[in-house]
């Protein structure tokens, strides 16, 4: 019994000792065990998650590739014949490999077991070379005997390479990956952590069946993000931007058709972005490769007036292997009005780097500009919603209003006489809007400005959204500020702010956060996170929104002489919207940003399309708003059938003919890749409908409008923005009374004395 008691006591003590070892040193020993495994372990790379569009097409994915690794020790294990044979096989099969450096390395480090000499080889190359490795070669050894030898000491390790099957499609939105799975711009950067996984480890040994035995910590692959983007809609938008550039490059002066063009197509009823496009595009598979001419264009402009955000420096740092860019660091340098943001950051950059960053950045979210008349509906909506106007008022427009000692002009300097609120919008009358803003007062205008999220980020899930905090007015705004703000001058917005706010304006008043990702799935396809499309807030009442839809409908659907937006309407559809022509700083230089915000159908908005053209290449940029409306029309004509939104209106003969013509040209190929290719004659084919803008004087004499709504008596066509007649010879806008040319470069604001 005594003996048994002793043994039992000993057991208890020993078990206590076991327990203490685990408790005190368990973690440390676990680490120790893992760390000493490293000699015989290798990293199993994770696979970065895919980026897919709403239909499941892969915009970005990671493909397994192979790195070529040399094992000096094994290379030298056999005789020199082996070594030379291996080197020769490498030299023959991989011409891109610097064989001398391999020789030098393997000679200097004979005990090295691991050195990557070539990266990202595809499976075929690996497979073929492995066959070579497996083939015996007969050769004479030092003793003159013939022996058969195989190359040795070379193996392949797995890795992943990011691929973008649509190349440049959606480049600004998708973003790209550099180095070790670090995303830059767009979704790749915003969702970098989501897309990345965790590397695994393999502590391997071969059992007698030559099978890797156990002790594998599998890599955890990254999550896939399912976006709201649509490859086809995106490619339609990009195709038309490209066509626009081809058509208007060097149109008036040497140079690009416009400094930039941005297009956002989104669903106003849930904030989902269908497409977001800008110019220029770049190949995501090779983001460093640019058309030298194109780059030169941006190098030239960026030194003088182009804006660069701090993101540019981030990229440069990241490329040089410095710190990971911090998205927050970028936020305080949103572009203002497309003009120079000064800062030490970009001064340090060379012009080439600046230009590259200019190309990589997403115009639609990163650049801020004065919205111009597209802002008018927001002012009207705020005034109605606040009860300051009913919408039934009429205002007298003499062509200008004197505020604080300045005469603030309408586009039509002669005035339109008595106008209702609705007509004020349709004709884009500044005086009506100024009066409405005064009726509203500063406080209410500011309140609704905030309500529509101006001055705040939309928090769209893309990298590089400009910080909007400093862009709009605050309580210090004066009467003149309020006057110009009513029609969208004097403060800045981003395209995405406008599109998101406008969606709320017309969808019944519900503000949705614009977003690009609808769902996050893990590598097995299980849903990790679903992005709910719930309205963030109600900005105006349903009835106000209804009134706005009724008014905005007339901007597009009225007789061409009564509205500015008629040329934006795709044949067969009802559309509402608003044109914009904003003068850039400094005033009076004749530089304008023209834009159009449209939604279809007019009574039940299903899709919103916002087109912004920054400084079009035209003699009179202020008269070029039609570039934006026509671009909108061309894009929507193709997008609407694709979204299963069907025409409700009867086509006129001209419309039918035009549509037929366009169908032959536009609807080429069903997938996004082939539609990116552009047929040469498209520009000519559509030119007849564009000539009314009279950009190209040589063609302006035959300025029929093929949309058919204008009967061009006396072969005179009308300016879409003002409804004024155009000089058939020069294309200048004429005063309807005097038929004398109006100076297209005149600013909306001038001093009156």
């Amino acid at each position: 019994m005594v003996l048994f008691a002793f043994v039992l006591a000993a057991f208890v003590l020993l078990f206590y000792r076991l327990y203490k070892i685990n408790e005190q040193n368990g973690d440390a020993y676990k680490r120790q065990v893992l760390s000493q495994q490293q000699a015989t372990s290798k990293t199993l790379p994770y696979r970065r998650g895919d980026i897919v569009d709403r239909k499941g097409s892969r915009l970005a994915y990671s493909e397994k590739v192979y790195n070529l690794v040399i094992d000096s020790k094994q290379m030298h294990e056999d005789d020199d014949e082996h070594y030379e044979l291996t080197l020769k096989a490498l030299e023959d099969y991989f011409p891109e490999l610097d064989i001398d450096s391999v020789r030098e390395y393997s000679t200097k480090h004979p005990s090295s077991r691991y050195r990557v000499v070539l990266k990202k080889l595809d499976y075929n190359k690996k497979d073929e070379f492995e066959k070579i490795m497996d083939t015996s070669v007969s050769m004479n050894n030092a003793d003159g005997e013939t022996v058969s030898v195989k190359p040795s000491g070379v193996w392949f390790e797995e890795d992943y390479k990011r691929k973008y099957p649509y190349n440049s499609l959606g480049c600004d939105v998708v973003g790209f990956v550099l180095g070790n799975n670090t995303g830059f711009y767009g979704l790749e950067q915003y969702y970098n952590d989501t897309l990345n996984g965790i590397n695994g480890r393999e502590y391997g040994y071969m059992n007698d069946d030559a099978v890797m035995e156990d002790a594998i910590q599998e890599a955890q692959d990254g999550n896939t993000i399912v976006t709201t983007l649509d490859t086809n809609i995106q490619s339609i938008a990009e195709k038309h931007i490209k066509l626009f550039y081809e058509k208007y490059n060097n149109a008036y002066r040497e140079g690009l058709a416009a400094k930039n063009v941005g297009v956002i197509i989104m669903n106003p009823n849930n904030g989902e972005i269908y497409a977001m496009a800008g110019y220029p595009v770049f190949d995501l598979n090779d983001p460093e490769k640019f058309d030298p001419l194109e780059l030169a264009e941006y190098v030239g402009s960026s030194t003088s007036e182009n804006s660069i955000s701090a993101n540019a420096l981030m990229i440069e740092k990241a490329e040089n292997g410095e710190e990971q860019p911090n998205p927050e660091a970028n936020t305080d340098s949103g572009t203002v009005s497309g003009d120079t943001v000064s800062g030490n950051a970009e001064n340090k950059m060379d012009p080439i780097t600046k230009a590259k960053n200019q190309i990589w950045r997403n115009f639609c979210i990163s650049d801020a500009f004065e919205p111009g008349s597209v802002m008018k509906p927001f002012t009207v909506a705020g005034a109605i919603d606040a009860g300051k106007i009913t919408g039934e008022e009429t205002y007298d427009c003499p062509g200008y209003l004197t505020v604080g000692g300045h005469a603030i002009h309408c586009h039509n300097r002669l005035g339109d006489g008595m106008l209702t609120v609705q007509q004020g919008l349709a004709k884009s009358c500044n005086v009506v809007l100024m009066n409405i803003a005064f009726a509203m007062g500063k406080e209410d205008w500011l309140r609704y400005n905030r309500t529509f999220n101006f001055g705040l980020k939309t928090n769209i899930d893309l990298y590089g959204e400009a910080n909007a905090a400093e862009l709009t007015f605050d309580e210090s705004m004066g009467q003149t500020d309020l006057a110009v703000a009513s029609f969208g001058q004097g403060f800045n917005v981003t395209m995405i702010q406008m599109a998101a706010g406008f969606s709320a304006l017309i969808n019944g008043g519900y503000y949705y956060r614009p977003h690009v990702v609808s769902r996050i799935e893990n590598s097995k396809g299980a849903v990790v996170q679903e992005v709910e499309s719930k309205p963030v807030k109600q900005v105006i009442s349903e009835s106000t929104s209804q009134k706005m839809r009724d008014m905005l409908r007339t901007v597009v659907m009225s007789d061409p002489s009564e509205c500015t937006g008629w040329s934006a309407r795709p044949a067969g559809y009802t559309e509402g919207g608003k044109t914009g022509t904003a003068e850039t700083y400094p005033r009076g230089n004749g530089n304008y940003i023209v834009s159009f915000m449209g939604y279809i159908p007019a009574d039940n908005p299903q899709v919103v399309c916002y087109v912004v053209i920054d400084r079009p290449n035209a003699q009179y940029q202020s008269e070029s708003t039609r570039m934006a409306t026509v671009l909108n029309k061309d894009i929507m004509t193709e997008v609407l059938p694709y979204l299963n939104i069907f025409p409700t209106e009867e086509l006129t003969e001209d419309e039918a003919a035009e549509l037929q013509e366009k169908q032959g040209e536009f609807f080429i190929g069903s997938d996004g890749v082939s539609t990116n290719s552009v047929s040469e004659d498209v520009a000519d084919g559509t030119s007849a409908s564009e000539d009314a803008i009279v950009i190209n004087p040589t063609e302006s004499t035959v300025s029929y409008d093929s949309a058919g709504n204008v009967v061009s008596e006396n072969k005179i066509s009308y300016d879409p923005e003002t409804g004024y007649p155009l000089d058939p010879a020069t294309g200048e806008v004429l005063d309807p009374n005097t038929l004398q040319p109006i100076n297209g470069n005149s600013s909306f604001m001038s001093d009156v004395n």
């Binding site: 003996l3 039992l8 020993l14 685990n22 368990g26 120790q32 000493q36």
Partner: protein, 380 residues
């Protein structure tokens, strides 16, 4: 008195032993497959060797359990001399050297005389104590009858440099005499002396008071025990790796077969250090299960010893109990670095053919004792 059915034996003991053997086979395979596939290009090399020994051991056990244990009384002297002879054979050309230690003899199969010596000492002491029990009432008798054990242990230590087996032999002898002797005081004194000596040695070594000239293999091991990290790649390596295994196993372990330490990090993973692999793969739970199994086994020995028909049977079982208890305690103590590193195997589980066969012989004897009709024997 009613005679027991001849079919009766201590089935609890039998079941525990069989379970331990099966568990041992699994763990030997798990712990040895990597080394076996590298050394012999056959991951089942150790497993098959162990399996052969186990089958042989079971056959021997069945045979011995049918053999009236009183026959061992007559064989006692022969067994003792035979064991001594086998030990002597190690220094003859029949001796074999494995891993730098000359502890085996080759008689068709390799055999470790130390394992035979343990059985011989149990049988010899049991037989002799029956005759001279009265003399154990005096201190002088106790010291004299420690003699045979000391002689054999000395031979093992001198000839095979196997200190752990020598200690176990001494331990078995001491325990058997202890249970047969009514005197406690000499044991208390001896125990105090040993403990004092051990602490003395620890003090001397840990304070670096050992002269360089006296720094031997043993001293080195004691130093490594006191601070295994100090010589992590040398003497402390095995101990430290065993501790890493235990610590990395946690409560539930990494799962059977998932040990990474067996991949060439823990030397003798299938042998002395198998308990560390058990801890790594099966965690504290697995270790506890093993300890509980041995506790049950030892408890059954106690029952059988207490109900044996005569003193001889009782002493035989006590000897077996002492043997297995000592090995289990010492093995786990070594693996957990509770005592300095010395090569003790874990009974029934560690790899080792000789050990299995002789252990099974001992189990056979114990089972046979359990079959005999019970009576009360005075043991202390």
């Amino acid at each position: 008195m009613k005679k027991k059915s001849s079919l009766y034996m201590d089935y609890s003991m039998l079941i525990v032993v069989v379970l331990l053997l099966c568990f041992g086979l699994i763990m030997v395979y798990s712990a040895s497959s990597y080394e076996a596939s590298i050394k012999f290009n056959d991951s089942t090399y150790y497993l098959r060797s162990q399996l052969r020994a186990t089958v042989l051991g079971i056959a021997v056990m069945i045979l011995v359990s049918r053999l009236d244990y009183h026959i061992w009384k007559k064989l006692a002297v022969v067994a003792y001399l035979g064991a001594a002879f086998l030990i002597m054979l190690v220094i003859t050309p029949l001796g074999m050297e494995i891993n730098g230690a000359r502890r085996w003899i080759n008689v068709g199969v390799s055999l470790q005389p130390a394992e035979a010596a343990k059985l011989a000492v149990i049988v010899f002491c049991a037989a002799k104590i029956c005759v001279i029990q009265k003399s154990l009432r005096k201190l002088k008798g106790i010291i004299i009858w420690m003699g045979p054990g000391i002689v054999l242990a000395g031979m093992i230590y001198v000839i095979t440099k196997n200190m752990s087996s020598a200690i176990i032999l001494l331990g078995i002898t001491a325990i058997m005499i202890f249970v047969a002797s009514p005197r406690y005081l000499p044991y208390v004194i001896v125990t105090l002396l040993v403990v004092g000596g051990v602490f003395g040695v620890i003090y001397v070594v840990s304070h670096g008071l050992v002269p360089e000239s006296l720094s031997t293999f043993r001293i080195g091991r004691i130093k490594a025990w006191l601070n295994p990290e100090a010589d992590a790649s040398g003497k402390g390596y095995q101990t430290l790796q065993a501790l890493y295994s235990i610590g990395s196993g946690g409560v539930l372990g990494k799962g059977l077969g998932q040990s990474t330490q067996k991949l060439g990090y823990v030397p003798e993973a299938q042998n002395d250090m198998i308990f560390s692999i058990i801890c790594e793969e099966l965690g504290l739970i697995g270790a506890l299960a093993v300890i509980v199994m041995f506790t049950i086994l030892i408890w059954r020995f106690l029952i059988v010893a207490n109900t044996a028909p005569d003193l001889f049977g009782s002493l035989l079982v006590v000897g077996v109990m002492a043997h297995i208890s000592l090995q289990v305690v010492l093995n786990i103590a070594v693996v957990t670095n509770t005592i300095p590193n010395t090569g003790v195997t874990l009974p029934f589980i560690s790899f080792g053919g000789t050990s299995i066969v002789f252990l099974m012989t001992e189990i056979g004897i114990a089972l046979n004792v359990s079959r005999a009709k019970p009576s009360q024997v005075q043991i202390y």
